[in-house]
Symmetry: none
Subunit: 213 residues, 4 copies
């Protein structure tokens, strides 16, 4: 049945430093298998085998198979999504980036690096979003918060400064997200490598033109 909602994930909050070597091996094996074959097509015995531990050990720390998923996705959404929010918050409150281009480049680059660093987690999240209603709702809400929160404020800021076109914030956000995804998806799905700087330059160039007032 997989995860109920992201709130549950937060509550797990397992301290990775408390895990034994074997338990970490279980997490590592699960990450690989879940992202390669999918959560449902991975058996706990697959995990035990790849991790080089007994089946019992798999269940020692993580009470259920869902628990493993939570332990993998927990840190991911817990540490990374908030980081995105605060990152945007800073950009606007501190007005660190006076020009829209600089802001755009930072956002694009960060997101591309993030995707590269979290390919496997992303693939697992993607699976769950498609198959799990709760997961879908949670992520929808998360994006809404992002748009109505820090990122939305940033966009509004640049619009008021006359630096970008006066379309609804959500529309602008969609285009930025889609353009980044056009670079990120091949990486996430096929695991192909990418030149981060070149990708950033290209995406920024296109978006600057497309969003010019």
């Amino acid at each position: 049945m997989a995860i109920k909602n992201l709130q549950d994930l937060f509550s797990e909050s397992l301290d990775e430093t408390q895990l034994t070597a074997k338990q970490k091996a279980v997490l590592r094996a699960s990450l690989k298998l879940f992202s390669d074959k999918g959560f449902d097509r991975t058996s706990t015995s697959d995990i035990a085998q790849l991790a080089g531990v007994s089946e019992g050990t798999v269940y020692k720390q993580f009470k259920t198979k869902d628990g493993i998923l939570a332990a993998i996705l927990g840190p991911f959404v817990q540490q990374v999504i908030p980081r995105a929010a605060s990152e945007f918050s800073e950009t606007i409150t501190a007005t660190t980036y006076p020009s829209f281009e600089e802001f755009l480049r930072t956002v694009i680059k960060n997101r591309i690096i993030f995707v590269i660093d979290n390919q496997r987690q992303l693939r697992i999240v993607l699976q769950e979003i498609i198959t799990d209603n709760n997961m879908r709702q949670t992520f929808t809400k998360l994006i809404q918060e992002l748009v109505s929160g820090p990122l939305g404020q940033a966009i509004t800021h640049y619009q008021q400064a006359g630096l970008i076109v006066q379309w609804p914030v959500l529309r602008v956000f969609h285009y930025i997200a889609a353009t980044i995804m056009s670079y990120a998806i091949p990486v996430a799905l096929a695991g192909s490598s990418i030149n981060t700087q070149k990708a950033t330059d290209e995406a920024a160039e296109f978006l600057l033109k497309g969003l010019k007032p």
Copy 2:
């Protein structure tokens, strides 16, 4: 294990008109369940129950659970993907669309309508692309053919006419695809409704600006 490759799907080629009412019900139920809960989380007894038939009936026509998936996805890739190709071919060979804008609008509109009409199939295909290596490879190849074929020629055509910027064809394609997807994905995933005309206008407006020479 799910589908091996799209070639297999073609060979299935089951004539839907030959199916009995109950077998069609099986297909309908499977489409709903696979797209809602995912292939792996749907049991054949779920399907039988929703279709109002016995489990035996599920297996009478579609020898395996994978066979049902093939029967659903077969017509989808068989009839629709080629249609997309021929659609682009015609646009360019007949130079039916003298202006890039008109071309763009047609492409965008067609794709959005396609997504709306095939939400469930798309979600299933998406699942498989994420979890199934063969499916992933097949689709990668398919896109390559599209870009190096009719659609690529169309883009080149407009570039030579000086109507769009001189970026590599693949890059231009990515932006068009990504922009369309920014409208299509919410529909496909959340099943939200959409104003096709408005979406087409907006996407065309953004792309025209972004791809201006």
Copy 3:
């Protein structure tokens, strides 16, 4: 569960001349499949397919799968086993064969020809004897009757005439049967061909020596 006992077979007593062409095809297909793959590994749909009829037709004449087995084995035991008995009866009552050698040659030849003509049926019977308790008992009884009946009388006759050794009738019977089987089994199991006359000569030569007084 297969056949209950041979008495049931007799009661079937279906007149082969009453069968339609399709029903005969069912019997022919069943004979081949049962003897090749075994009764349990043959499905009624296998039979229908090989016979070129619908599954319904298979059940029109033969109410159950066991019914088909009965229809195949019925004539076999019904017509052939009794024939064996009467054959022996005649040999002794009519004293058609004054010499033991002539008697032996006739018996051996007849049995070998019988095996060649009924390879498939024999294989099916053999299967059932091994797996079915009732079948086993029935055949044990049948042999006992044969030995205590006509064949036993024949052996006794030749013993009293001083033509063969004075061992118990059952023991003599066993050796004769075993020697014949040493030629019959390869034929029945592997379907290998055989020179009937040569086999008869050899078997008779060995048995005459072995059973000499």
Copy 4:
């Protein structure tokens, strides 16, 4: 589908001492059921019930139903058939048995004892030989090797010593085998008891006469 060939059996080579009590119970129950009702008429739930374990346990050690068959027949062919070969080898190379009668008695006795000890396994093998093509071929080859190998040499030896008749080796072998089987088959099929010494005496007496030069 049952076993592919005897080579596969050898490779199984599961160390019976490594099996847990429950797994041995599974093997014991399977041996009884397969030999009583036949492989195909025995369900894995039958086995679990008789063994007093869960169905899952049946599959823990023996991955498939065929795997159980292999685990039963493996040791049988692995340990016993070679023993037969070496037994004959010794008789001739060491010329332990100067008289043909002594040789014959040893062979007969050993085979009868073997049959008594392995009734159930033999019945299972018999089933497979009748229904499974590969099993049939494997056993045919095995017998050919026996005849062209140690046993054939022994027979030739006694022929050259003028102790038995000058018939082809295969023919002599057939008569010996058939005579032994005339005692073994009732035991194997009906499970009837037998006086080994008496049977040996009788069989030897008959064969000595029948094979006298």
